[in-house]
């Protein structure tokens, strides 16, 4: 599973992209965010307030109960501020 981080989420976790292999019980987006936050440090800090984290799976916006699978591209980012 590929994880992408953008904007201040990227700065807090210290990486733009990583490959992860979460355990089988990580079935949903919420599971994944919890699992990433358990790493502590910048990850815990970046994911502390879930209301500020938007998630896209395979480049489509999803909710926290959306499933995640091995080959997914999961992107985590703050609310958008373009235009």
């Amino acid at each position: 599973m590929r994880i992408l981080y953008f904007a201040w989420l990227r700065e807090k976790v210290g990486t733009a992209e990583e490959a992860v292999a979460p355990p089988a019980e990580v079935a949903t987006v919420n599971d994944l965010l919890g699992w990433l936050a358990e790493r502590g440090g910048g990850f815990a800090e970046a994911l502390a307030d879930r209301s500020l984290v938007r998630v896209a799976v395979n480049q489509t916006y999803v909710d926290g109960d959306h499933p995640v699978a091995t080959n997914d591209e999961v992107a985590l980012f703050p609310p958008v501020t373009g235009g």
Binding site: F6, A7, A56, V80, T81, G82, G83
Partner: protein, 158 residues
């Protein structure tokens, strides 16, 4: 329909003219250009850097554009959004809509800007005297976008 996400500047007049060239059914063209301001609240902005999500950003813009075409009778439309480092006064975004009806052109252009502000994956980092500051999403943008959810279909009457 066209979407471009690019580092380079664009020429609004040339884009508007090209969009309707040869289509004499078009009665009105509405264009919106967003510019970098030199102030954000009380803070002076010396420059801004726009980050995006290559791939998803284009997809979201295309999806929003397709919705506008479903909702209003548009002859053509264009969205250009820049990324990278920009200075105050620089152009950030261009939205152009063309229709036989002026209300359709106005409303769809406004719809595209409102949705782009709340849905398109872009993030602004502003350089201020206090250092780089990620811009917070604004409630007023959510409100502006939300009004299109309940609104009846675009007025096709004028």
């Amino acid at each position: 329909m066209a979407v471009r996400v690019q580092r380079e500047d664009f020429d609004p007049g040339a884009e508007m003219a090209a969009l309707t060239a040869g289509d004499h059914a078009v009665g009105g063209v509405c264009a919106f250009v967003g510019l970098v301001r030199d102030m954000a609240g009380d803070a002076a902005i010396s420059s801004m850097t726009l980050e995006h999500y290559p791939g998803m950003t284009e997809r979201e813009l295309e999806r929003i554009e397709a919705q506008a075409h479903e909702r209003w009778p548009l002859n053509a439309s264009l969205i250009i959004h820049r990324f990278g480092r920009l200075d105050p006064g620089d152009r950030i975004v261009l939205v152009v809509t063309a229709s036989s009806h002026r209300q359709a052109a106005f409303e769809s252009c406004q719809f595209l800007m409102d949705w782009l502000k709340t849905k398109a994956p872009f993030w602004k980092l502003e350089e201020t005297p206090a250092g780089g500051q990620w811009v917070d999403a604004r409630d007023s943008d959510d409100t502006a976008a939300a009004r299109w959810i309940d609104a009846t279909k675009g007025d096709r009457g004028s």
